[in-house]
C-alpha cells in the first residue's frame, strides 16, 4: 500500500513520510512523490500529479504547501479541489504557516539525537509564529552545536526521531492526525 506525497521539495517529503510512518505504527506503507521546487508549480500541477499518483497505485494523497502570504481557507479549498477528483481513498492538505521546519522545532530531543549532541536546544514556545523557522533552526544548531544544518540532510533525520505527541500543539499539523486515523482504519480493513 502506497501513499503519494506532493510537496515543494524533497526535505518536505522526508519529513512527512517519516512522521506519517510514526503515526501509522505498527503498520507500514510505501511512498511515491512529486516535488515541485516551488509553490507556483505545485498549484499548477497538483491535479495532474495527484491523478498520476493514484494511477501508480497510491491509495492516499498528502499535499504539503507553505501558507506564506496566502489565505489558508482559500488555499486549502483550492488544493483539496485538485486532489479529491484523483479518486484517492483519503487525502490531506497540510499547510505549515511558514515552513515545515516549524514542526521540527517542537522537539528538542529529536534535534539533539539527529545531530548526535547531548544538550537540548532552547526552542521557542510556538515555532509556528517564527517568520523563518529554517533559518532559526540553522542558527540554533550552529550556535549551540557548531554543526551545519542542511534541510536536505537533517529534516528527514530529525523527523525520524520526533515525538509525534508534541505535534499536537501544532495547529497546522492537526489534519494529519485525522488522516492517519483514516489510513490506519483502511489498513486494518485490508
Amino acid at each position: 500500500m502506497n501513499a503519494g506525497i506532493i510537496a515543494e521539495d524533497d526535505s518536505d517529503v522526508a519529513v512527512v513520510s517519516a512522521i506519517t510512518l510514526k503515526l501509522l505504527r505498527p503498520h507500514d506503507i510505501g511512498f511515491k512523490k512529486f516535488v515541485s521546487g516551488g509553490c507556483g508549480k505545485l498549484r499548477r500541477k497538483c491535479a495532474a500529479w495527484a491523478r498520476n499518483l493514484v494511477e501508480r497505485g497510491c491509495l492516499w494523497i498528502i499535499v504539503v504547501h507553505d501558507l506564506d502570504e496566502n489565505d489558508e481557507q482559500q488555499l486549502r479549498e483550492e488544493l483539496t479541489a485538485c486532489v479529491v477528483p484523483s479518486g484517492a481513498e483519503a487525502t490531506v492538505v497540510l499547510i505549515p504557516r511558514r515552513e515545515i521546519e516549524a514542526w521540527l522545532l517542537y522537539d528538542a530531543r529529536a534535534i539533539a539525537t539527529a545531530f548526535r549532541q547531548r544538550p537540548h536546544l532552547p526552542l521557542p514556545g510556538n515555532p509556528e509564529i517564527l517568520l523563518d523557522p529554517k533559518k532559526h533552526l540553522s542558527e540554533l544548531v550552529w550556535r549551540r552545536y557548531r554543526k551545519v544544518y542542511l534541510n536536505t540532510l537533517h529534516n528527514g533525520l530529525i523527523a525520524q526521531h520526533i515525538n509525534v505527541a508534541l505535534l499536537r500543539r501544532s495547529a497546522s499539523f492537526a489534519p494529519h492526525f485525522l488522516f492517519a486515523r483514516q489510513v490506519t482504519a483502511r489498513i486494518r480493513r485490508g
Binding site: S36, G37, G38, G40, K41, K135, V148, L150, L153
Partner: protein
Amino acid sequence: MPETPVLKRIVLENYRSCLRTKIDLHPKLSVLIGPNGSGKTNILQGIMLLHQLAHGQGHGAGLRRLTATSRVKAAFHSKNSTADLRASVDTYTNETNNDIVLQSHQKWLLGTTSRHQTFSSEMPLAVAGFDPARPHRFYTSQLEMYQYRHYYLGRLRGTMPPTPEWGQRIFANVAKYCQGIRYYGASQFTNPGSCPTSFELEREGLQRSLRRIRGHAKILYEMYSASRAQSRQQYDQFIEIVGPKGLRLIDGLTFRDVKTSSTEYSVRVGGKVESRKRDNLLIVPQFKIGRQTLSPNQLSEGTFKTLALIFHVITENCTALLIEEPEVCVHQGLLASILELIKSYSNRTQMILSTHSDYVLDKVEPENVYRVTLTKPEGTIVRHIKNTMTSKEFAALRQYLEREGNLGDYWREGGLGDRS
C-alpha cells in the same frame, strides 16, 4: 557591526569583454545567468582581481608589453563603514587563463557612517593587508617596496598623510575580505585521472610548495592542511557533510605522511662539493568508499568536483566565493543539497555564482538573479532581472511564481527575455 564588509558594487573597465560593466551585487547571494560568451566568467575573474590586489603583485618585468591596463572600481560596505576603490591595474593573462597583476595604482576613499568622517588614501591593498604575525614577509620584500614605491615615497616626502586609526581598521577589514575571495570553476577539476596520487612537501617552507601546486593537488593540499590544523573543526565539518552521515559521497578521507629525504649537491668555486640534506614529506591522500580505498585519481569527476566545491563553501577563511556553474557533473538530488549549503553559508560568506541551469534558478529568489548580455559596442552588460522588466512585468513574474511555476521554468520558457 559585522566588521567584515561585503562587496556592494564593482565596475570593470577595459577588462576582457567588460568594457564598462557595472554590477550591484546582492550582499548574500548573486546568481549570474546569460548565454555562453556573454562574459559571466570574465566578471568573476574581474572580481578575482581584488584578491590579486590584496595578495600583492606578481613579478613580470619581461611581460610588460603583453599587459593590458584595466580599471576597477569597487564599493565595499559594512554596517558602519564604506570603502571605495578606484584602481588602474596592469594584468598579464597566463597560459591557464589566470590574471597576474603586474602593476596597480589604487585610490581609496574610506568613510564611517557613524561619525561621518572620510579619508582618501593611495595605500595599496596588499600593504593594508600586511599581517603583523608574519613581519618577515613584509620587510624582506624589496620587490614589493619597489612596486609600491609611489606610495612609500609619498609617505617619506610627507605628501601622503598617515591613515588614521579608524581608516586602518576599515582598510584591514577590506584587505581581509579581498584576501578571502575564492574561486571555484568546474573546469578546474575536470579529469581527476590527471590528479597526482600523492604530493610532496618540504618539511620547512610549506609556502613554497603551495605556490607550485595547483588544480587537483592544491585542493587536496588544502584538505590536508585543514586535517592537520590545530582546530580540526572545519575539517570535521567537511567530513560530516560529505561522509556516510551526510551526503554519502565518501566514507572517509585520510592522509598518510611518509617521511622522505633527498640530498642536493652543489659545486663551489675551487671544486669543493657541498651536500645538503632535505627532509620532505610525501602526502598520500586516501579516500574510503565502501570497502575500497581509492586514490584521488580514481574518484569520478562529479565526486571530485562536489568534494572540492563543498570544501570551498565551508572554508572558514573564505569571505566571498565565486562559483562557476555549480551544476556541472552533479546529480540533481545532490545539487539541491549543495545549493542549500551555498544558501546557508551565504549568511557568512558572500556568494556569487554563474549558472546555465534552470534547476539552480528554481532554488533562488528573483532578487538574487542578474542577467548578463554581450552587445557589440558596449561589451558585457549586467542587469538585475528586476531592472530588465517594467514594474508590471515584475508583478506578473511574482504572480507566475505564486500560481504557475518556478523561476527556472520562467527562464526556460523565455520569460526572462535572454533567449533569442
